[in-house]
Every structure is written in structure tokens, then in C-alpha cells.
Amino acid sequence: MITPKELAKKIQKQEAFASGGRWCAGCAFPMIVRTILAAAGENVVVSNATGCLEVTSTIYPYTSWGVPWIHNTFENAAATLSGAEAAYDFIQKQDEKNLPKFGKELKNKKVKFVAFGGDGGTYDIGLQSLSGALERGDDFVYVCYDNGAYMNTGNQRSSASPLGSSTTTAPAGKEHLGKEELRKDLLKIALAHNIPYVAQGAVHDLIDLYNKAEKAFSKKGPAVIDVLSPCVNWKIAPGTTMEISRIAANTCFWPLYEVDEGKYKITYKPSKKLKVEEFLKPQGRFKHLFKNAKGKKIIEKTQKEVDRRWEELQELEIFTNRK
């Protein structure tokens, strides 16, 4: 177990993701990126899908990255990394005397590969290439920072947007109360590829996230980590990023769990499960739900879905850990 002090020192020493980027005040992904990279160790290659993280961290001619970094379009962060990993693999198999200078250097290094994508680039556009990379069994970690919409372009609905959230392409009005569909369960899709490790983390518990990332990097084969990344486009005050993430875990809207070689483990069980209203109420994107009876029904439906998933998760934990 790492202590917060050790993790902070590690992050400071590594300097993998520098200050000076133009993400909004109170953004959650810088902490996520730093924690994941601290777990990856010294030699790491990062691939980044288009999204908030890419746009704000690399405003030409500036970059916040202190590690090798490749940007590619929305749909192929995983495919790009797959290629980089294949090239590394090829070099490992070659005779040292046949390699050029950089190849010789690379042959003696243990390199980790990590891809970062937002929920738009993971749940929607990049799903196909992610699925391909997972199926091929490439040795990499895919991290999705999930803020529940296309926040980079100004809050358009994605398949990770929760039920009832008001977005510019599914706005709340008289007829419709925001998004009418439930969110997609990315980790179930990832699990369907029979990969060694998937986990769900949140930004408020960085120690837990670090442990999960460390486990993910230690596996031979692909791993997927989905991290809740609260956004100011949720119409919350900038300073409440961590707080809202904590409430999401306590309401079980965003349970923290991992699936290690098919075995489920819930890493955080709230001592008192809060009602989902507590998570929805502070956010401006849900405020229309609290105005009429129609909105109340959506809150009830959300609660029902959260309860269903939480129960399912607990049962899966018992089922997969039986002897």
C-alpha cells in the first residue's frame, strides 16, 4: 500500500505531466493522468485520443507532457498504441547486432504502454479500435476519463451521459427531459473480450486508482480502467470536483471495483448508501428533474438502475469468488 505522501513524492519526482496546460480550473483529469503515469514507472509511451486532455495539454507550440506522447484522432488511440507496442515487440525479438542505435537502447528497457481517451473517444467513436486491440491481446492499459459527454466541444451527448442529463444535443425542454437512454456499461463490453484486468476508479480516491493502475500494468495483456472525471460542464462549482466524485461513489452511481482474472472485487463499499438525488441535486445538468413529476420519475428510474447494478455487482462478487 502506498501512502498519499509517497504518491505525491513519486509524482513530483517523475514530472510526467507539467503545469501550465489550459484545462479548466478544477478539472479532474490532470490528477488522473499523473497518478496513472506514476504507476507506469519511468519508461512509458502514451497515446492520446482527441479530447479535452489532448487539446488542453498540447496547445501548439507548448506541451505539458514529459513522456513520449502520440496523438491520434478520436477513433484510434488504441490502434495507434497497438502499433507502437507491436514495434517494441519486434525490437525485443531481434538480434542485438542487427539493430540500429535506438533499437539497442530500447531492447534493454521495459516499456509500458498507456492510452488515454475521453468517454466520447472510448464509449462511442473509439470502441471499434479498442475492441480490436483488446481482442489481439496487446500488452497495454487503456484509461478512459469519463466525464459523461463531449465536453471538449461543449457538452454534446455521448453514450456515457447519464439518464436525464441535459446536453446541447439532448437538451431539457417541455417535451424531453434531457437524455432518455441509460448509460452504456463499458467495462462489461471490455470484459467480454476475456482480458486479464478491468477496473473502475474515481478521481477522489487516487490511492485506490494508483493500486489499480499498478495492477493493470503488471498484467501481461490488455487492461481497461474507467475513471470518473467530474467536469465543470456538469454545472458544478470548480472546487467541488472531488466532492461530487465522492458522492458518486457513496450513492453507488459510480461503484469502485475491479475484475482481476475474472474475479470481481468491490474495492469500496459505502457504509451508508446515499440516495441518488444527493448526486444529481448539486449538478446544474439535472436541475430540470427536480421541477416536476415527470422529472421525479426519471430520478426514480435512475435510482432503480443504480440499485440494480449495485446488486448485480455484489452478486457477481460472491459468484466469481466461490470455491
Partner: protein
């Protein structure tokens, strides 16, 4: 950053130096700035970890260092996360 001529720009327009965003001081975004009450601070490093700008330092002995206001955007997460309430946000003038 100095202006470059077309011949000085690397092939592909890639950025050839890491962490150049450090030249871009985001500190002028802030309306509020954190003030730390040293007598209350228990050096738990929670504020260090939860700062998106990574502008609160940690010393080698594990104690919290100074706040680098050059990059602080004034989001106030540190004040909310501090378990002993040692950080207050004041108006930045």
C-alpha cells in the same frame, strides 16, 4: 517562446521539447488564491495530490512545501479537501 522561421520548425511540426507548457503561466486566471494556516497544517499531502495544476510542492522529508501561485487557477479544491480546514481561499488582488 521565440518565433521560429519555417526552416527552424521540426519536420512534421512536432514539439521537440518536453514540458514547454511551463512557460505558459496560468496563474493569471485566478480570482481566488489559497492561503495556508501553517499552525493547522498536518502535512497529510492531500492538497498536494488533489491540485490539478500540481502547484503545491512536497519536500523530501514528506512535509508540504510552498504553493506556486504562478500556475494556480484558484479552483479551490485544496481548501475543500483539507481535512483540518487549514486552507482558506481569499480574493486575489
Amino acid at each position: 517562446m521565440d518565433k521560429k522561421t519555417s526552416k527552424q520548425i521540426p519536420i512534421g511540426g512536432i514539439i521537440d521539447k518536453p514540458k514547454t507548457s511551463l512557460l505558459n503561466k496560468t496563474g493569471d486566471w485566478k480570482k481566488m488564491r489559497p492561503v495556508i494556516d501553517e499552525s493547522k497544517c498536518i502535512h497529510c499531502a492531500k492538497c498536494v495530490l488533489s491540485c490539478p495544476e500540481n502547484c503545491i510542492a512536497i519536500k523530501k522529508d514528506g512535509k508540504r512545501g510552498d504553493v506556486n501561485l504562478d500556475f494556480c487557477k484558484g479552483c479551490g479544491i485544496c481548501a475543500k479537501e483539507c481535512p483540518v480546514g487549514a486552507i482558506t481561499m481569499v480574493e486575489d488582488k
